[in-house]
């Protein structure tokens, strides 16, 4: 069977589909790159999907009360 030439309609549709495909692929790459950058620059994070790791969660520093150290008497007197 003899193949007929491609109609202009097919060319238009092909250009639309190709353009959309490339755009979506570029969008995926961009979102991936953005995710890598955001995570790379982010603060330490804790995922709660599985086992909780309390040591991975940054806790606010709690100021410890100053405990006066008792004076230790020395053998040498004043």
């Amino acid at each position: 069977m003899q193949l007929r030439p491609t109609h202009e309609l097919h060319l238009r549709r092909f250009s639309r589909n190709l353009g959309l495909g490339l755009t979506l692929a570029a969008f995926v790459v961009l979102v991936f790159a953005l995710t890598v950058v955001k995570i790379g620059r982010g603060a330490p994070m804790q995922g709660y999907g599985q086992a909780v790791q309390p040591q991975a969660v940054p806790t606010p520093a709690v100021p410890t009360p100053a405990v006066p150290t008792p004076a230790v008497p020395t053998e040498e007197g004043p």
Partner: protein, 314 residues
């Protein structure tokens, strides 16, 4: 390939638009100005954004501008069809259905706003949403057909991109961002009125109340001069802030002298002189106005680059 025969000789319907038609729907020429001014806003702002974040923010600002352009083409298809300058756009020429333009405009608006919020910050995303609303609703649907001041107020839509860029980089608005806004805002009226001076028939046919149609060409020439004079202190003021430096000021002084001279030339001409040389002065002023804005923002960028090397700036 078995169905080709049914299409032989068929004329393309709106559903057969090519990818280029969709790109054209986003007004790529307008987008180029948006991209450039937003890029300057992003780069001159004091921030430590990663290049990928800058690229993403720029892309989604541009996409938002394109979405606003698509919504504008959907709404204005009727008047675009009767103006020679716009009759070949995808919707009025029949290559794309008006409903498709609306769908694309709305979808791209949503995508660009959400993605800018994720790539940069929520303030920038909110500003982009407001800009799209301002251009599509306030300018296109309301002002454009209602008042000869359409260009003056509607110019705000085109002035937002560098502010969005700045906010994407810093998270807040500052004097420098507002001055970049004011520069484009004040530049827009003389730019478009110069265009209207040699496109008068277009707007008249479409019934768009441009100043040339409602107040005549003499009044438009005066308005070009007045708004150009009002633009000068804004441009020089921007060059005197942290945006500028000696280099920017020198560029700005030269550009403003040239621009004012062009506006005076337009103001002094009568219609006989304009008709004699086919609006040569008006066309030259319009072309130079594009260069004027481009070089101002390029100077901001150069100044910021010089500053990073310990040169430039005040």
């Amino acid at each position: 390939m078995s169905d080709i025969g049914a299409y032989q000789g068929a004329t393309p319907t709106p559903q057969d638009a090519g990818f280029g038609d969709y790109v054209e729907l986003l007004k790529p020429r307008v987008m180029s100005l948006v991209v450039f001014t937003a890029l300057v806003g992003l780069l001159v702002a004091p921030s430590g954004l990663h290049p990928v974040e800058i690229f993403a923010a720029l892309l989604f600002i541009a996409l938002g501008a394109g979405a606003a352009g698509a919504l504008n083409m959907w709404w204005d298809a009727d008047i675009d069809a009767v103006m020679a300058r716009t009759a070949r756009r995808p919707v009025p020429s029949g290559r794309l259905a008006a409903g498709d333009a609306l769908a694309i405009g709305l979808a791209l608006s949503g995508i660009s706003i959400v993605m800018l919020g994720l790539a940069a910050n929520l303030a920038a995303a909110a500003l982009l949403a407001f800009t799209i609303f301002f251009y599509a609703v306030v300018y296109s649907m309301w002002l454009k057909r209602a008042t000869p001041q359409n260009i003056v107020i509607g110019g705000a839509a085109g002035a937002f991109p560098p502010v969005i860029g700045w906010v994407a980089a810093t998270g807040s608005v500052s004097l420098e961002a507002l001055l970049m806004f004011a520069l484009i805002f004040m530049w827009t009226p003389p730019h478009f009125w110069a265009l209207a001076l040699f496109m008068k028939d277009d707007y008249h046919t479409a019934g768009v109340p441009m100043l040339t149609v409602t107040h005549g060409r003499r009044a438009t020439r005066l308005h070009v001069l007045v708004y150009t004079l009002l633009l000068v202190p804004v441009a020089l003021g921007a060059a005197l802030t942290a945006l500028g430096g000696p280099f920017t000021l020198a560029v700005s002084v030269a550009l403003n002298l040239w621009f004012v001279a062009g506006a005076v030339r337009i103001w002094r001409r009568d219609e006989a002189a304009a008709a004699a040389d086919r609006n040569a002065a008006e066309k030259a002023f319009f072309r130079f106005s594009l260069l004027y804005l481009f070089l101002h923002f390029a100077a901001f960028l150069v100044e910021a680059t010089l500053r990073s090397f310990g040169l430039g700036g005040w």
